[in-house]
Structure formats: structure tokens, C-alpha cells
Amino acid sequence: MTPETIDQIFVITKHWLLGYVPAALQPIVSAILSVVPILLAFPLLFAITTVLERKGLGRIQNRYGPNRVGPLGILQPMADGIKSLTKEDVVPRAADQIVHFLAPILIVIAAFLAYAVLPIGRNMVVVNLNAGLLYFFAIGSMVELAVFMAGWSSHSKYSLLGAMRAVAQMISYEVPLVLASIVVIMAAGSLSTVAIVEAQTGYTYTFPHWFVFTPWGFAGFILFMIAATAESNRSPFDLPEGESEIIAGYYIEYSGFKFALFFLGEYLGMFATSALAITLFLGGWSAPFSWLTWIPSYLWFFAKLLVLIGIFIWIRGTLPRLRMDQLMGMAWKFMLPMTLLNLITAGVWHFMPGGILRWIVCTAMVVVPCILLSRSMKQGKTLQVRTYRYAE
């Protein structure tokens, strides 16, 4: 077995299985064979992530985290799953029954659909759309619809507030999310995710041509990750589900397995945007050094995905929740100007001749506005310990 065979083992297996299928059924069987592994792998990753997240957050807070179910608590997702499956499914009497039922399903479907264009390995993508990135963002905005359906149909003040917050936040952050990824489209000259990954597969002195290793790519990656955190409603942008303010936000009226579906959809959305960040900036399934290319491409993809998930967990364990005005101010006053400037930076990078001067100019074009913008955002704000006149 050569490294190439191991790298392509899933592709080879699929074609071998397709050989046993009559030609008329081949398209549908091919689709099923592509989709089913994704439907299995990513929920499994969700299960692993939940326990890793709880253990990681525990360690960050100097606790053990779950360690009772199975060795080191790794069977905790099973216990959680059994619990949520056996719980009573309560639907409020005033709720819009159909929409209330459809919302959790839609959020999971929207999250799963996004995986269609994500290349998880060499030649391993469900469909290679030539407008893949556009498709991803179009599917990504379906999540907002599902969230608002959940909030509205529950017929509860808190869930409506949470849904309103969620929609405001997700629409605001969708703008920088898309703008941050446009630089990659400019550089790769394609909307196809496969072509974007292939544009990054070269190596110079064993170092990869990932877009993150350019000034505009690095800035774009950071901006993309901030926007992706907000898009997936993760801490510190988890206002839509702020437990201390609006209890649980849009899914307050959900219980049992529907509640678990919301969690699943949320995490799948997080994985999908992380996978897109990998595809756009971190070279997709390509190895970080040319002498590591013998490791199968799908392993690199999942390794990068786990690293990004770890960063998400780390961020969640570190930062407190933002206030609504801070959240919106961040989106419109900082993220939007920075992403627009980043577009210009990417253009300058493209047209300047390669060399040290290009690096200096482009780095300055990213760093100087960042410093100026953060200065201007701080202006008029004095950070001090708040004193209370009446409450002590």
C-alpha cells in the first residue's frame, strides 16, 4: 500500500462499491456513498467535541470535568444522548406547532447541507460546485431562518428576544464573514472550494503556500474566525442564548431531543465554518510541510479541524459575553472597515512585485488601520472600576 493508496482509500472503496451497482442506479448510489460518511463522521465529531469541551472548560477552571461515564468520562456523550432521547418532549400550548417542530430539523439540515462543498481530503468532496463558496454562504444564512422560526413559534418573550438578538447578530456578522473570504477568492480566482485548496498546495522550501501566511491572509483569517465565532453563536458572542439574561434564548421552549438537535446544529455549524476557514486560509487538506505529505490528506483536514475546535473551546473558557452594543459596534465599526481595507491590501499584494517591500507595505496596510481603529474605538471610554451609589 503506497501512501497514495492510503490517501485515496475512501475514493477507491467508493468506486469499487459502485462497480457492483447497475449503471442506472449509479448516480444515486454514488450520492448516498458520499453523504453517509459525512452524516456519520461529523455527528461523531460532535459527540467527541462535547466531552472534550466539557473536560477542557473544566481544566481551564481547575476542575476535572466529566469523568464518571466510561474510562475518563469518554462515554459521557452516550449518557447525554440517552438522557435527551428519553426526556419528555414538551411543546407549549400557545406555540405554532408546525414551525416549532420544523425549526430544529431545519437548523440541522442547513448545517449538514454546508458540508456538501467542503473538501475533506484529496478528491474527497461531495460536489465540486464552481460556485461552492456562494453556496456555502447561502446555506449558512438558512440557520438564521431556523433560529428565528424557533424563537417566533415558541410564543415566549425570552425566545423571541433571543431570536431577535440572534438574527441581528448573524446578519451583522455575515457581512464581515463574506468580505473576509473575498480576499481568498481574489487570490485563487475561483469560487470553487476545491480550486481554492489546490491554489494553496504548493511548497517553497518545504513551507506551504497557505493564504494565512500573507499579511492579507492572516488578517483575513483572524477576521473570518471572529465572524465565524459570532455566526455560530459561540462565546463570547453567545448573546442569543445568554443564560444569565434570557435564560436560553431561542431554544428556551425546546426540550428533549429537539433541544439536542439545536445543539447538534449549532456544533455542526461551528465545524462547517471552521472547515471553511481551513479551506480558505489553512490550505484545506494539504500538509503543513512538504516532507509530511505522506500522511493522508483527510487526517490533515481533521487535525486542523480539531485544532480550530480547541481554539474555539479555549476562547469560550476565556472571554465573558459581550454586551449587545459592544457586539454591534465591533461588527460595524471594526470588522467591516478592516475587511474592506483587507480587500485593498490583497489587491496591492497582487499587483506589487514580489519581495520584501511588498511584505512591508501590506503588513503596514493591515497593522496601522487596526491600531488606529482600536484607538478610535477606545476614545471616550474610560476603563475603571465601576462604583455603585445605592447598591453596595
Binding site: R59, W314, T318
Partner: protein, 213 residues
Amino acid sequence: MLGVGILKGLAETGRNFLGSFVSKDRLTTIQFPEERAPRIEATRNFPFLVYDGTDPMSGLRCVSCFICEKECPPKCILIEKSTDKKPDATGKPQFYPAQFQIDISVCMSCQICVEVCPFDAIKMDTEFELSTQDRFDDLLLPKQRLAKSNEYYHEIHPTEAAAVDAELAAARAKAAPKPVAAPAAVAAPAPVAATLEPAAAPAAAPDTKGSAV
């Protein structure tokens, strides 16, 4: 610049994360069934009956005077007085409780029974693993389950028990007729405890000590 504080915070949480794997001192959790926190002397939950000597039933200090039953605010104590007298641990004939029940599902752990008892017969326990499948029979404790030795009392509340023993020994020495060698009949731990300084007794020790023994 924007983000410096975030990086500082990330460094702090990262230090906590890695440190929790390296040093055990960081982890404050006590993993209960396997590990146990050290016993806190001042803790209390439900009352128990103290007995001297070796036989739990005949050594009970309780003489069924009904004071605790009458004082108990939630009325969780039930006493049935004996019709005969039996010798207690000191050999003196006493009434004894034919039946002594405490319903710990009703008890509110107020310690009033302990404070009113003139015989130091009832004290607060620290046993907390009382969950049970049967909420009636297993939570209505009869005197067989309530009776616990003076040594156990010394184990859970050392300073308080020492003070109680000292007072009991003093009271017995005072009440005993001169020629009779009463101190010899006193329960074994009492002389040992009597040597302790009374000043070591905590303020929490019940101050309503009778001298009727």
C-alpha cells in the same frame, strides 16, 4: 491595541489548563465516593443517643425524662418510658426508654434536644450518607440505630465530648457518697477526659448541664 487583553486572558486560561494536569493542588474538587473531605468538628445533622460501656441498649444515658420530646419543635421524637428500672453503665438503677424513635425526615437539625438534655444522652451526629430507597422505615430511626458509643462521640466531636466527660465525672464525684468507691465504676473514657483542661471545651458545648447523675 485591540486584542492584547484577549491574548493575556488566553495565556491565563492556558496556564490554568496545563497547570491542572501538572499540579494536583490546583484541582479543588474532592471526588466524593473515592476521596473524602476531612471531618469538620462543628458540623451536625441529626441527633443520636450516647451509650456508655459496651452494650448499646443497657448503656444508654437516656432515662426517658421526655424533655427532648416536649421541646422538639417539629415533634419528631417519640419516647416510651419503661415500667421497670435497670442498672445503667454506672450500675445505678434507672428508667430507660422502652422505645425511642426519631423521624429524621421531620427533624430540622436544630439541636434543641441536645441543649435541653440534662443527662448528655442525646448528641448531634455527622453521618450524612442517609439516602435510602424506603422513605418510611429507613428514615424513622429506632433506638437500636440511634444508639452510638461514647467513643464514637469522641471521634466526631473530640473537644465537645471531652468537656462533657469532664463535667459528668465531676458531677458523679460530687453526688457519690463518701465511702463508696464511685469513681471506679465510672465508664472507662471519663477519667482520661477529666484530665483535659476544661478551658479547651468549645463555647458551642451545651451549657445546660444537669448534675442529676
